[in-house]
Symmetry: D2
Subunit: 247 residues, 4 copies
């Protein structure tokens, strides 16, 4: 028996890619493609799961409407703050049969890179993060790299590790990059690239490198499909795809 | 209070490196350096932990003597088979206060690379392993690469994944490398290298690479010291350093 | 003054990408898009340069027609043998004002990787080649990797270098890959990848890695445009884009 | 017939490594190991070539004494400025039979990486440099990385290329690194590493990476030996090992 899936924001770039991926999956059935103005409540009894790739101004209302309709929600739209997450958590506490995943990144390789970096961090003397993105990006470093660095810093702190060794005294141009909670992060902006990250972890005599390359939007689809297949079995709110990976 | 440590095989290359690493660690005290002919039983009441980097023909007797002496054992010597492991397990069942670790590889980056590859494997359509070693190595692929490939294959099987896609029809020279349980392994032999591995895992639009570089013997020391600090709290027999990493 | 460019095979995948790239270039003007059945001779006096991405059965006749029409030719179609190249060379010897480039690969990074590997080869004790492609490819290794390996082997031979060190005795599965003129070549086939190559060159204590990643067809366009802008100044037949790079 | 070689600064770390490398080379004969206080002039008629790994305060006087003695000089000592180089050049103009090489880096992979980056730079839209060194280094970026970036910038300028695309507006921590003549340079400082560099060059759809890893001092020896074998055939002053590589 296949899972009935609706896509919200189906006309957008991520929405179109999602529609195509669901149509190509044998165990999933696309039952609705919604865009601005369409009625989410009408999905009650029609869709098992809805994927939301809409816009920050619409996504919270969509999620509450999906919960009311008894439809599990997989959300890739950004813009969620703690207050908004709290309201969803509260709403779900009254609907024990519904699950929701809100995730900033569905690329499995990026999600795993963050997780592995955090797991490895307490075991290495040094760790730094290099990210590479297309040159149209306005902010540096990337959200994923910042998240990775903070995860490394937190894991080191939990393990009681002190600051990493660094004798740098002369660095007039700032080549050492951004210091995020004690972890240095470096950002490259290059034509032709999409989204790439290298995490370096080292000890005397050894170097561990975790590298992730996302070449295009299709890289998000294995993660989206995994979430669609998993969400019904995970009532309540889950933050981040790694919550579904059972690592 | 520091941990009292003895080194068995102290005159060998790994033994010497271990002696130096223990002497440099503030929380460890080197209490004995033994070599062929020295009496392991004399360590009773003297050493808390003993590190064994001897030879296959000596290591099993050493471990039993250490257990009898109430000394925890960290063993990096190779050559253990299932029968020998069973005898140690049985012996330890009668000494609930003693722990032993027998591990083929103490390089944290290599141990983590194997573990991460196995964790990631069910989530990717394709996976292959490339290892690079010095050209004096007589066997290919390396034990670590073979172990990594088998771990990937087993994880894919548990997840119900079928064979990886591969349309190769024409490969007169064998460029596709060794097929180990369905996972292709490639071995490079190059002057100046020591021990290096790259695991590639991919999905549509994304590539995850886990790379480990061991430049010299010192790369084993963080893992050896971690084991020395952990073994007293882990009674019974543990196989592989990842058993101590709490990943 | 812009260069007037015609595209032959304009309806194919490479042809379409070329048409778009020429239309986007300020110094180039697309004057004709031809496909099967269209008359190449009609380009005389209309196009300065023609780009041929047709099929092996058509490309030689196209090139001769272009030479007769006084139109410079940039050819990416494969399937040329020595006899066919000889006929073009002879034809061009009678038209000193016309230039032609026939090149198997227009990706600048791949062309440079081959060139750099050949230049570096005499200076290193060891060299091996790893290529990664999509899993629909039927042959291994790739033409580019084979060409790279042969270039390395020839450069070593010219420098009087002997065989590379390799003590491998035990390799039941063929993990050492294909031996091409003494240079080992390894081929990976993975979902989501396009065309990638790593050349490793090492000496005691050092490793030089030249890596090229082609993510999509657009990677050929900088090389095609460079050829379109250069061909008029290079009468006669040139084989391979590196002939235009003035390295 | 072997080449007679003297080593100046033979007691230092680089000097000792050089002595060992010369003794291991069949075509070279070590005829003198000099240190502070030894008389360089006494090498006349004894040594064909002298290798100078002394200190900035001694090297210039050594080189002039070698020229007077008719001994070819291979110099790895740093601290040369334009005036000092000018004096050596002038001195050599009066001794047409003597050659001297003054080079900041003898690691072939590093020298080639700089050269290849400069050759490739005009053909790519974007280029950035990442270097990784041990954490005891006090300055960032490394001299090699700075030299690489300036070589890229100069090659782009000669080719008439403008600034690289970069839309960064928000970078509070300086993750974009140091801007050296328009080329961004990033420096990592990590336990266990020695000297490593990655040069990234990209176009739409493609990425070329040139990576060099120096694991230990032995990595300088192939370059030193190449210089010792070449210097007699290159009268006058040569700056940089790439001047001997005939690329």
């Amino acid at each position: 028996m296949s899972i009935a899936v609706a896509v919200l924001g189906a006309a957008g770039r991520m929405g179109q890619t999602t529609v195509a991926a669901i149509e190509a999956a044998e165990d999933l059935e696309l039952v609705a493609s919604l865009d601005m103005g369409d009625d989410v409540a009408a999905l009650a009894g029609v869709a098992d799961v809805a994927v939301d790739f809409t816009v920050p101004s619409a996504t919270e209302a969509n999620v509450h409407a999906l919960i009311d309709a008894g439809v599990h929600a997989v959300v890739g739209t950004t813009g969620w703050d703690e207050d908004a997450l709290g309201r969803v958590r509260e709403h779900l506490s009254r609907r024990a049969d519904v699950g929701a995943l809100i995730a900033p990144n569905f690329a499995l390789s990026a999600v795993l890179a963050m997780k592995f970096a955090e797991m490895a961090a307490p075991l290495f003397a040094s760790a730094e993060v290099v990210e590479l993105h297309h040159p149209r990006k306005v902010d540096a470093p990337s959200g994923t790299a910042a998240h990775t660095a903070r995860g490394i810093a937190a894991a080191r702190a939990r393990a009681g590790l002190g600051p990493m060794p660094d004798a740098t005294e002369i660095d007039p141009g700032g080549a050492r990059g951004a210091d995020m909670d004690g972890v240095h992060v470096h950002a490259l902006r290059m034509t032709g690239l999409v989204a790439h990250e290298q995490v370096f972890l080292s000890n005397p005599g050894e170097l561990l490198t975790i590298r992730t390359d996302s070449f295009d939007r299709s890289s998000f689809m294995p993660g989206v499909l995994l979430a669609v297949r998993t969400v019904a079995g995970r009532p309540g709110l889950t933050l981040g795809l790694d919550g579904y990976l059972d690592l």
